[in-house]
């Protein structure tokens, strides 16, 4: 996957680029609106990560540019403004998703993966990871062609893990992903532990390899 990160905060930009590059993706970055337009007019990307508050203008300009140039890059807005108006405006002029800062890199990756899948024209609605097949349309999961029944949260978690395969994911990031706005989970991660235990058991019961490993003290890792 080829990505373009448009973000003026250097530290954040570097982290995003590193996190995405490790996975065999090509991740380029630019710091302002002018640079973004420049890059987008010369190259094609699969996905654009767009900060709204740029030093030389509003990120919405990029969306307008893409629309005018009839380019079909998937766009994910990353904004410091958790504003309903911005969200609606962004989604109306062509953005595919809106993520409010601060976010976990794992969350960003899962969102990018989902946006990319939706956008990819030849998508067959299936994610295949070794023996695990996830049917996105029907929200069903099969292991070695044996269907397994997962709860909504377990299904979400599996997709999240697959999108972040090979990465250590903190319990905080998982809690944020699963419960997000719904609930302030504080430091109570028992819920997550139970869900992961159940998911792992269901996968193992279907003769799946044990991919979910615990990284003691911090979280989990889905072994690639």
């Amino acid at each position: 996957m080829k990505l373009l990160v448009i973000e003026d905060e250097q530290a954040l930009r570097e982290n995003i680029t590193t996190y995405f590059n490790e996975d065999g993706n090509i991740c380029e970055s630019t710091v302002n609106l002018a640079g973004a337009i420049d890059k987008l007019s010369s190259y094609n990307y699969d996905c654009v990560l767009l900060d709204i508050g740029l030093p030389d203008g509003e990120g919405f300009e990029v969306l307008n540019f893409l629309k005018k140039a009839m380019k079909d890059e998937a766009v994910l807005i990353i904004s410091a403004r958790n504003s309903l108006d911005d969200k609606i405006k962004g989604l109306n002029i062509g953005a595919d998703d809106y993520l409010t800062k601060p976010f976990h890199l794992a969350e960003l990756k899962a969102r990018v993966a989902s946006v990319y899948r939706r956008k990819a024209a030849n998508s067959n609605n299936n994610i295949i990871f070794n023996e695990i097949t996830v049917n996105l349309q029907g929200r069903t999961v099969e292991v070695n062609d044996t269907p397994i029944i997962l709860t909504r949260k377990e299904y979400d978690m599996l997709l999240y893990f697959i999108a972040n395969k090979g990465k250590v994911i903190s319990k905080n990031a998982i809690a944020e992903h699963l419960w997000g706005d719904e609930m302030d989970m504080h430091n109570n991660f028992d819920f997550i532990y139970t869900h992961i235990k159940n998911l792992r058991k269901k996968l193992l019961d279907a003769k799946c390899n044990d991919y979910i490993g615990s990284v003691y003290g911090i979280g989990y890792k889905f072994k690639a």
């Binding site: 982290n15 590193t18 958790n82 976990h104 890199l105 905080n172 911090i218």
Partner: protein, 334 residues
Amino acid sequence: MILYILILKRKRRKKEEGRAVSSIITLNGNNYLTTLIVSRADTEYLVQIIGLITLVLSIGLLLTLFITNRYILNGLWKPFYKTLAELKSFNISDNKSLILKSTKVDEFNELNDTVQLMSLNVKNDFQNLKEFTENASHEMQTPLAVITSKLDTLIQDETLKTDQYEQINDIYAATNKLARLNQSLLLLVKIENNLIADIELLRLDILIEEKIKQFYELTNDKQIKVETHLAIKEISASKYLIDILLNNLFSNAIRHNISKGKLIIILNTDKLLFKNDGLPQILDKSNMFDRFKKGNKSEGTGLGLAIVKNICTLNNWTISYFHETSFHVFKIEF
């Protein structure tokens, strides 16, 4: 020698007041006792008449004063009372500004102008303060994002020891709390500024049913028994805010619930009740809806109930808390 004497008038046989002077006069070698008497009856009569006239005049004057006060001055003071009423209804967080009509009286006009100017200044200051809160919160989001992403990158290094991971975990938790606080503050500012205006017609009973499904895993984990008595109820409000309201009420009711406890939700056309089991202690009613007021054991931001209260106020609903047998009850009256 001057004497006051009473003389007897023979004709009328009536006592009258008078003044007399008597002295001995020697005339041609003979001594005469002479007495001069002046009657005071006329003066007394005069005094009575004057008194009566004064009294009648005073009463007349008072009456006129009363009437003028009542009917004429009342009209004259009308602009003042109008200004006073406007001032009483003045609310700093309202969006509408104080508008005072000009009058024919210069003094009142001056008063109105001063009051209007003052209210404008106060409002501007208040607005600036709120904008400052909003901007400060926004500016904090990016550094928070940097911290989170740095931590996310840091933990990829699997040579870290467990206790180092645990330290990182604490940083994560603190950052997470800070981010939530920030978002809650922003939300409060937005509600108070009435900036969320996506009002639509909502079926509250259906929304509650959806929320129960959404929180199923959490209630299930704690083995909380959820009981509902929902009547059909339509409200017109912002879906975004009602979602937050229900989220906060649900998380409260689940978080402070006991294992194998109960959560009873009752919805009528005029009220919504959230009853949940919990620790037997009775909570402090007086300030539980204030910002940053929370129970000893609560690890929340302390803004959850303040947000709930503000959403209720925005929709002209009242929220109250009471303790009923073993239940903690939150009641919203529409």
